[in-house]
Amino acid sequence: MKLVVAIVKPFKLDEVKEALRAAGVQGLTATEAQGFGRQRGHTEVYRGAEYRVDFVPKVKVEVLCDDDQVQGVVDAIMKSARTGKIGDGKIFVLPAEQAYRIRTGEMGPDAI
């Protein structure tokens, strides 16, 4: 099993969700996140004082999937989240040691 973690632009979340659904993903977790990469922050002005804001708002999407599903999931995110401009985000694939469905106690791939 793998945990696919993607950091994407917030306005792309809906397209990412639909693409993952089309790729057969049954569930995902989305979290509002902020951070920075190569995309720079921006300035804001309050009563004449300029502030540099470094963190850019993003959404973190997490999908747990079976090993043979990983490529499909990554492709779906890659395609749906891309605008071609700086700040499109990142995808990380992490090994997932174990998974449990809390209600039934199922384990492993059955719990996905």
Partner: protein, 434 residues
């Protein structure tokens, strides 16, 4: 005539009440948009308080209320720069209150009218384009229509004889049809019909609607221009129509969707306020209840139809102000009662009402398209670029955000000349801030 202290006190208070409607509208609209556009939306109304006030003194008032320059089309330049507008009463308008009180009272109407239009083009207009549009529309559309109906222009009592107590035609039909023109010219928001575009702060919407309801007593009862029985009638009609309109909206809403919503109640209230505006000083209380209820139900249907047709009238200016305004203007011709004011409803009066409505629709629609075209050419676009629309108006147009619920890193820039390496917002946006 000598100044009447009671009349003067009421007109001044009413002017302040109407002034408060524009920030109320800002909250009403601000709550209905997405969080990233709350400031941009509020700013469009708040800024109108500033720009329209300045223009009104310089040129707007005289074009509307100056002595007719010929043909009932436009006011002359007698009052340019508020020349001769002072503490003495006018010999034409509100002859028992200081002329300057009357002119300030009228100013508050001139402010809220273009601000109403912003609900239709919410979340997508460049601020610079809005500023130019606002100034041109105020002078080239609001002033002439106010002249025709409120002053000695050709639609008012001097000539055609259309009844408009407090601005159903001048304010609501005028702004409502301009909104339709703006929607057609500017097009839909990106993602409209696909993404969820839901109101981000419903309590703010209700607060704004409540302020509008409160301020509208100044709008309608103040239009009696005196502290008298007519003002009391208009006051009562305003309240009763609004109450009935809430019911008129909620009943069909609940029948169709199974629930009565708070935004429905707030919108129904505004529909009732709009519809009773032309009628407030002409009808009896029972008729106000009818007008309000009908307006609530008809506006609900109009907004329901819009949703199915797919126009992006983002905050329903057409469905509420245009449709409600037309309902009110026409029903004024039906229900006007000599027991309240000097006019009675009749087929002939209905015809005069329809004529005033038709003329206003044609003029405002065409002028609005023309002004948008001119702004478009002069500034090279009326809409924000895609990335700025995605980022939101707050950051892209004003370098601010409405809400920060957590720290976002960063620092105070070293100085205004050297913004610590951060690029201007526009530059960042083109690279995709969101």
């Amino acid at each position: 005539m000598p100044i009447d202290t009671g009349d003067t006190a009421w007109v001044l208070a009413a002017a302040a009440l109407v002034m408060f409607m524009t920030p109320g509208l800002a909250l009403f609209y601000g709550g209905l948009v997405r969080a990233k556009n709350v400031l941009g939306t509020i700013m469009q109304s708040f800024f109108a308080l500033a720009l329209v006030s300045v223009l009104w003194v310089l040129i707007g008032y005289t074009l509307a209320f100056g002595k007719d320059a010929g043909g009932g089309i436009i006011g002359g330049l007698d009052f340019i720069g508020f020349k001769g507008v002072g503490p003495a009463p006018s010999d034409t308008y509100a002859t028992t209150v200081p002329h300057i009180a009357f002119s300030l009272y009228q100013l508050m109407f001139a402010i809220i009218t273009p601000a109403l239009i912003t609900g239709a083009i919410a979340e997508r207009m460049r601020f610079s384009a809005y500023v130019l549009f606002l100034g041109l529309w105020s002078i080239l559309v609001y002033s002439p229509v106010a002249h025709w109906v409120f002053a000695d222009g050709f639609l008012g009592l001097v000539h055609v004889g259309a009844l408009d107590f407090a601005g159903g035609t001048v304010v609501h039909i005028n702004a409502g049809i301009a909104a339709l023109a703006a929607i057609l010219y500017m097009g839909k928001r990106r993602g409209f019909g696909r993404e969820a575009m839901v109101p981000h702060n419903v309590p703010m919407v209700i607060t704004g609607a409540a302020i509008l309801w409160f301020g509208w007593f100044g709008f309608n009862a103040g239009s009696a221009l005196g502290a008298n029985g007519l003002a009391a009638s208009a006051f009562a009609n305003t309240h009763l129509a609004t109450a009935a309109a809430v019911l008129g909206w909620l009943i069909p809403e609940r029948a169709k969707h199974g629930k009565a919503t708070t935004i429905g109640a707030a919108t129904g209230a505004v529909a009732g306020l709009v519809a009773i505006t032309p009628a407030a000083g002409f009808v009896e209380p029972w008729a106000a209840l009818v007008i309000g209820f009908v307006a609530g139900a008809v506006c609900w249907k109009a907004v329901d139809l819009k949703t199915r047709i797919g126009y992006d009238d983002s905050l329903d200016v057409v469905g509420v102000h245009f449709v409600g305004g037309v309902v009110g203007a026409l029903l004024t011709g039906v229900f006007a009662s000599a027991a309240v004011n000097a006019f009675s409803g009749s087929l002939a009066q209905f015809g005069k009402q329809a004529l005033a409505v038709g003329v206003t629709i044609a003029f405002s629609f065409l002028m609005t398209l023309l002004i948008l075209k001119v702004v478009d050419v002069l500034l090279g676009g009326v809409r924000v670029p895609e990335e700025e629309e995605v980022t939101g108006l707050d950051l892209s147009q004003h370098s601010e955000v409405g809400y920060t619920f957590q720290d976002r890193g960063g620092s105070l820039a070293a100085g205004h000349d050297e913004p610590a390496g951060a690029e201007p917002v526009g530059a960042v946006d083109r690279e995709g801030a969101r």
